[in-house]
């Protein structure tokens, strides 16, 4: 796996190519179902200019969001579309990554966490404005944007 440094959060064993491959399996099907193309959750402005120190808080929030609000609620559709295995691969790797990304007590800085939270709330807000099914499809269809942003923190 690869090593990533999200600010003061260091994480090893990230299998980005495994995640890319799993997403590649889902991509065409899921993105083709996304009819609200005028909405982008992980907007470029949200992902830009995130300080290194803030990045750990932000990636943790996103991973939790994908695990709890997205992947968990898409298994029925994934099974119907024979995409369950790919979704499980994403889920397991996100889970491993989220648990590995624990900022140490001494590194916790309220202002950074707050800034990351405000960014994340923009993503969550756009997600919640959509119909449930459309929101799930859109969030999953944007995993490539998330992986590409994560790759910038590759060591």
């Amino acid at each position: 796996g690869q090593e990533f440094q999200f600010g003061f959060c260091h994480v090893q064993g990230v299998k980005l190519q495994v995640l890319r491959k799993a997403f590649g399996t889902l991509r065409d099907t899921v993105q083709a179902q996304d009819n609200t193309t005028s909405v982008r959750l992980l907007r470029k402005e949200i992902l830009q200019n995130i300080s290194d120190a803030e990045s750990c808080y932000f990636i943790r929030a996103l991973l939790k969001f994908y695990l709890k609000a997205v992947f968990r609620n898409y298994y029925r559709q994934a099974s119907e579309l024979r995409l369950r295995r790919a979704l499980s691969t994403l889920t397991n790797n996100f889970l491993a990554l989220a648990s590995a990304l624990q900022p140490r007590e001494e590194d916790k800085v309220f202002s950074l966490a707050e800034s990351a939270r405000r960014r994340f709330l923009q993503v969550q807000g756009a997600f919640q404005q959509l119909d449930v099914e459309a929101a799930l499809i859109k969030a999953i269809g944007e995993v490539d944007i998330l992986l590409t942003w994560m790759e910038k923190y590759y060591q």
Binding site: L16, R20, K21, G24, D28, Q31, A32, D34, T37, S38, V39, R40, R43, K44, L47, G141, D144, I145, T148, E151, K152, Y154
Partner: protein
């Protein structure tokens, strides 16, 4: 990052004068945008490099055919993500021979730009994790070397003097696998062994 949309003529209309109109859409924005140079055109391709030059955005394109007064429906592409889907051109390769070594200096290809006035952007800037896969081959001994280098230079030591070696280089970037675009094969001979020369005299 030259991005050109290609399509096939409608079935059964080959050789018939058909005109095509192209539009593109930036994912997350509101409306389809025209590409004037590709309105009512008889070409079956449209260069959307300028329109898709912001590689952190994602795009759709669509094309429709028209003949006399009739028009087809739009045909739409999937979501296109230049940052992950563009093919990376090979670097410029400069070889310098020593007696028992060859020095390889690599210069990353540049991002496509509209005009020369636009500042050049190296692919190294677009992809900070860009690495080069250097392969060297000796036609005489049929030996082959591979090496991945992150910075733009490499010296291959312990070679035979006065021997021809050929080099090919490919740029690799993170993301899903892409079709490789290796450089042209370049060959160079190592210098003659000077010590041998003196003995002979």
């Amino acid at each position: 990052m030259k991005n050109v949309l290609h399509w096939d003529p409608p079935e059964g209309l080959t050789g018939v004068e058909v005109l095509y109109t192209v539009q593109y859409f930036i994912y997350g924005q509101k409306k389809w945008l025209d590409k004037p140079e590709c309105r009512k055109s008889n070409r079956t391709y449209c260069d959307l490099s300028a329109e898709t030059s912001d590689y952190e955005h994602q795009y759709y394109a669509r094309v429709k055919a028209s003949r006399k007064a009739t028009c087809s429906k739009w045909t739409e592409t999937g979501r296109f993500y230049p940052y992950l889907e563009t093919q990376i051109g090979p670097p410029a390769v400069a070889l310098t021979a020593g007696e028992k070594s060859i020095s390889v200096v690599l210069t990353a290809s540049e991002k496509w730009r509209r005009t020369l006035e636009e500042g050049a952007v190296s692919m190294q800037q677009v992809y900070p994790a860009l690495v080069y896969n250097v392969s060297m081959y000796s036609p005489q001994s049929h030996r082959m070397w591979w090496q991945c280098v992150a910075n733009g230079s490499l010296v291959v030591p312990w070679l035979e003097p006065d021997t021809l070696y050929c080099v090919r280089v490919e740029a690799l970037v993170p993301g899903p696998p892409r079709l490789p675009l290796p450089s042209e094969k370049q060959c160079i001979s190592t210098l003659k062994d000077q010590t041998q020369e003196w003995k002979i005299k």
